[in-house]
Symmetry: C2
Subunit: 296 residues, 2 copies
C-alpha cells in the first residue's frame, strides 16, 4: 500500500491542461476529495454488481476476450462512446469493418463500449443510452452478429488527449487491436473561454505517439455529417461543404426535448424514440434546466 499527497492543482493542470473552474470531473470528484490518496495492487474478490438491470453488459476484460474468442474474431475494433449512436457513428463502425475485411481479416468484431461511469449533467444517462443502443442493433443499423455491446465502467474525465490514452489502453487490455478515433476525442468546450478546450487533432496525434500503445492500430476517421443530397450521414466532403449539415449534440438534444424529428437518416427511428422518451421522462421541474449529473 502506498499513501501519497493529493496534489490537486498539479493533477488537474497535468490532466486537463487547464486549471480553469468548471471542469465537470474536477468539480464532481477531485475538489471534494481529501488531501491524501491510497494506491497499490488491487485484488478483486468478487465482481462488482450494480443491480441496475445492466450487469449482464458489464463484462470484465477477461470475459470480453472470451467472448471474442467464442465468436472466432480475428480482429477486434473498439468504439468508445458516451452519446446515443447516430448514423454518423454507425458509418464509422461499418466502414471500419469494411476496411478490415479489405485488409484481409475474415471476421472483424466490433466492441461497442459505452462509457458507464460518471458523465456530465447534459449527457444522456447510461440506462437510456443502453436502451437506445439496443434499438440501433434491433433496427439493423449495426449487425448484432458482429457486435459485442459492453459497458466500460469508467468515469468520464473530459480530458481530451490525456483521457483518450486511457480509453485506448483499457481497450487493448480487453482484447481490442484496432481503435477508432474521431475528431476531438473526450473533448469539451473550454470551461470559461468561447473555444474548444483541445485541438481537435491532438487526441489522434497523442495516440500515435504514446508509449504502451504500440500494439494498438489507431484508425483515424474523417468527420461524418448529414449529407442533404443523399438524406443520410456521410463522410464530410469539404469540396461540397454546402451539402452537409452538422448536427451537434446540443442541437440533437434540443430536437429530442421538443419532440421534433431530426432529418431522415440521422438516427434510426427506434433509437430516436428512446431519446424523446428520455427527455419526456424528466419531471416538469427539470424542463429548461440541466439535469443532474449521473454519479459513477
Amino acid at each position: 500500500i502506498e499513501i501519497y499527497k493529493h496534489l490537486k492543482e498539479e493533477r488537474i493542470a497535468r490532466t486537463w491542461g487547464t486549471t480553469a473552474p468548471g471542469l465537470p470531473y474536477v468539480e464532481e470528484t477531485i475538489t471534494k476529495a481529501g488531501n491524501w490518496l491510497i494506491g497499490g495492487d488491487l485484488e478483486v474478490i468478487e465482481p462488482i454488481k450494480y443491480h441496475d438491470g445492466l450487469d449482464r453488459f458489464r463484462l470484465s476484460p477477461v470475459e470480453l476476450r472470451q467472448e471474442f474468442e467464442k465468436r472466432n474474431a480475428d480482429a477486434v475494433f473498439a468504439f468508445q462512446l458516451r452519446n446515443p449512436v447516430h448514423n454518423g457513428h454507425a458509418l464509422l463502425m461499418t466502414d471500419t469493418r469494411r476496411r478490415l475485411l479489405e485488409m484481409g481479416y475474415k471476421n472483424p468484431i466490433l466492441l461497442l463500449h459505452p462509457l458507464g461511469g460518471y458523465t456530465k449533467a447534459d449527457d444522456v444517462p447510461l440506462s437510456w443510452r443502453m436502451k437506445q443502443h439496443e434499438k440501433v442493433l434491433e433496427d439493423g443499423v449495426l449487425d448484432p452478429e458482429t457486435t459485442v455491446v459492453s459497458i466500460f465502467p469508467s468515469p468520464m474525465h473530459y480530458a481530451g488527449p490525456t483521457e483518450v490514452q486511457w480509453h485506448a489502453k483499457a481497450r487493448i487490455n480487453a482484447g481490442a487491436n484496432f481503435y477508432i478515433v474521431g475528431r476531438d476525442p473526450a473533448g469539451m468546450g473550454h470551461p470559461i473561454e468561447k473555444r474548444d478546450l483541445y485541438d481537435a487533432d491532438h487526441g489522434k496525434k497523442v495516440l500515435s505517439m504514446a508509449p504502451g500503445l504500440e500494439r494498438l492500430n489507431i484508425l483515424p476517421f474523417r468527420v461524418a455529417a448529414y449529407d442533404k443530397t443523399q438524406s443520410k450521414m456521410a463522410f464530410f466532403d469539404p469540396s461540397r461543404a454546402q451539402d452537409f449539415l452538422f448536427i451537434s449534440g446540443t442541437k440533437m438534444r434540443a430536437l429530442a426535448k421538443n419532440k421534433e424529428n431530426p432529418p431522415d437518416g440521422f438516427m434510426c427511428p427506434g433509437g430516436w424514440k428512446v431519446l424523446v422518451k428520455y427527455y419526456d421522462s424528466l419531471t416538469p421541474s427539470d424542463n429548461g434546466r440541466i439535469h443532474e449529473a449521473v454519479p459513477a
Copy 2:
C-alpha cells in the same frame, strides 16, 4: 516546416502543473510570445558563437563525445547545475566517482554541465558561475583530470519533474550514461503559495519511469548538509539531525552579499571570493533589490 497554434494555457499547465502567475520562464518567454509556433528539422550551418569569452566551453554533443573518447572514459556521469558549486555538490560528484570505480569502471569522467541559458533574477549569472567553477577546479575540490566542464545552452524552465527529463535526455545525447539527481531537481517555490511547487521525490521517480531514458542510469542521492561535528559537507544523517546545518541558496546569497563567510568547509575559499565579488559588482542601486534576469 510545421506551423501550429501556441496553446499557451495548455502548454503552461502541462509543463509546470500549475497556471499560477509568477512562473519565471512563463513570464520571460511564453506570455510575451506570439500565438503561432514553427517547428521542423533544424540544420545547423555553423556553430553559434556568443563572443562572451565562454564559447570554448560550449561544446556540442558531438564534441563532448569526442572529448570523452579522447580521455578514454569508460563511464560518463553528468551533473546539471545552475548554482555555484559548494562542497555538498562536490561530495555528490566525488562520491559518484567512487561508486563507479567500485562498480568496476576504470576511468569514470564527470561532465560538469552548468546551464547557460535564461535563469531567474536571483540566480548567479553564468559568467560568474563559470569563474566560480574554475576556482573549484583550481582549488582541487574537483579533479581537472577527470572532469569536463561545458556549458549546457538551455534556458531554465524551473519545471521540476517535466524539465528533469529534458535535462537527463540531453545529457544522454552528449554521451553520458549516468545522471546524478538530487532532491527536487529543477524545482522552485510555488509562485503564489507558501510551499514547494513539486514533491521533492517526483523528479527522481519520473526519471526512473520516463520512456526514452532506459539507457540512462539514474543515480539518486541523499541530501548533503553541513556537518558541524566534522566542519564539512556530508550526507545528511537523520539520526543526528541536530549536527547538521542546511545552508539554502537564499542563505548563501545573503552571506555573500554581506561579505560574510559561510562555515569553514562549505565552499572552497577561491570559489567563495568569486561570489562575494559578484555581489559586490552589483551597482549600489541594485543593492537590496533583485538583479535582472539573464536573457538566454
